[in-house]
């Protein structure tokens, strides 16, 4: 089957898609966008989190055919979406690097998409709100402490720079 989908603002097409394929497979293996990660493929880890028509979802649980005609944003599109200059990071991405929130990094893309969504909805979340918003994203390396630091840091930096934006 053929699937047409807009990914990170670009219209993309894939042919000969097997009907049982997930959006995750489509992105990773057919569209050259392996940033979204294949950690569990059962919706229990959040590593494949992407935005589908703006809404964070597990790409592993979206059938590729369901994405036909839809709009997808992956970790590869976060910086551009945030208006970062070419070669620069979005505030959330930069905060993850700066706060030491990245170790092996396999959970990072999904966490970034989830955190980006949280900060868009709530620019100044409480710790409990951050925890609840990120509770669908497993991390095995960090114990989450530095991830919480990163989200707080991104929120604080955005608040400071956002005065004029």
């Amino acid at each position: 089957m053929r699937v047409n989908v807009t990914v990170n603002g670009r219209p993309r097409q894939a042919d000969d898609v097997w009907e049982g394929e997930s959006l995750l497979y489509l992105l990773r293996e057919r569209l050259g966008l392996p940033g979204s990660k294949n950690a569990c493929e059962q919706g229990e880890c959040g590593s494949c989190t992407v935005r589908l028509d703006g809404v964070p979802v597990c790409a592993c649980l979206v059938a590729a055919g369901q994405a036909h005609g839809r709009d997808v944003v992956t970790v590869e599109g976060l910086a551009a979406r945030a208006g970062a200059a070419e070669g620069h990071l979005s505030p959330v991405q930069q905060a993850f690097v700066d706060a030491g929130a990245v170790q092996c990094g396999f959970c990072t893309p999904g966490l970034l998409v989830a955190a980006d969504d949280l900060l868009e909805r709530d620019p100044d979340p409480s710790d409990a709100d951050i925890r609840e918003a990120l509770s669908g994203n497993l991390c095995r390396c960090t114990g989450y402490e530095k991830i919480l630091d990163a989200v707080r840091l991104a929120a604080a930096r955005t608040a400071r720079s956002g005065q004029g934006a």
Binding site: Q42, G43, H68, S135, G136
Partner: protein, 295 residues
């Protein structure tokens, strides 16, 4: 495998009539797991995500007609007033990502005894709107679950909506899992006060082959509350009544030992949740206040 993409409800019904083995998929939160792990290879996937009416809900007098594919996140955000028990249950489903995709209709279609919606639907009172090219029928939710992962749908039927009675009193939902988020129920309990009829209804999840009401416990409690004139006076539920209610709720379970929990624990926990949810709901009823913050 074929991928069917009906744009309208009638097309979906026609496709299901033509391919009764087709597996409907909306949020994909159950179906895609089975496909990814090679547990299921249906001949057809019937994608319902283009049938937009399934994502809407309507006020239908004393009920909400909830489209089959309305995601849990929407139930939490928009329907916590009319359907508080279902909203509480929805908040315990999977993860934020899952709640953005999964739906009550999907929960019913899968009919897992561990589905989080079921106890809340049983306690509130609900009917499943099932439809095929042959026509529409409303199935009381109690009759919908027919076995482990089995439901009352005919092969050519699809779930179009769920009709859930609007709350006339406080509702509670409680679920035990061995993790503080993103966990499948070891067991769950829902309770709804219906002051209009002076009745209490319940729902038990994951402690029997199907979701069930604890009818003996309900009958006992309804009689005991009437006898003690609690509805008239707003007096607290007598501890002995609460204890017996909990015991009967526990006795309504027919649980198994499995990798998620023991049968004995499930019976025990359902009793504890029954007692606690009754206390919370009754306090809300008598004081008009909640005791837990739904942030």
């Amino acid at each position: 495998m074929d991928f069917l993409r009906p744009a309208r409800w009638e097309e979906a019904l026609a496709a299901k009539a033509e391919h009764p083995a087709a597996v409907p998929i909306a949020g994909g939160t159950d179906v895609m797991v089975e496909i990814n792990f090679d547990h299921r290879r249906p001949s057809h996937l019937l994608d319902l995500t283009r049938v937009t009416e399934l994502y809407t809900w309507q006020d239908a007098g004393d009920r909400v007609r909830l489209g089959a594919a309305v995601p849990y996140a929407r139930v939490i955000e928009r329907l916590a007033g009319e359907l508080p028990g279902l909203a509480l249950a929805a908040r315990t489903v999977g993860s934020p990502q899952i709640r953005n995709r999964g739906s009550v209709g999907g929960n019913l279609g899968a009919a897992s005894p561990a589905g989080d919606s079921h106890p809340a639907l049983l306690a509130a009172g609900a009917e499943v709107e099932a439809e095929s090219v042959r026509g529409t029928r409303l199935i009381p939710v109690e009759e919908f679950y027919t076995g482990v992962k089995r439901n009352a749908l005919a092969p050519d039927e699809l779930i179009r909506a769920v009709h859930v009675r609007k709350a006339t009193g406080p509702q509670q939902f409680s679920k035990v899992g061995t993790r503080n988020a993103m966990v499948i129920a070891v067991c769950a309990f829902a309770l709804a006060l219906h002051p209009d009829t002076r009745t209490v209804r319940t729902g038990i999840g994951s402690a029997a082959p199907t979701p069930v009401r604890a009818r003996t416990a309900e009958d006992f409690l309804n009689a005991a509350l009437a006898e003690a004139r609690c509805w008239d006076t707003g007096a607290p539920v007598p501890p002995a009544v609460a204890a017996e209610f909990a015991r009967l709720a526990s006795a309504a379970c027919r649980p198994i030992d499995d990798v998620r929990g023991s049968a004995a624990y499930r019976r025990h926990a359902v009793g504890v949740m029954a007692r606690r949810t009754l206390a919370w709901a009754w306090e809300q009823h008598t004081t008009g206040e909640g005791t837990a913050r739904c942030a």
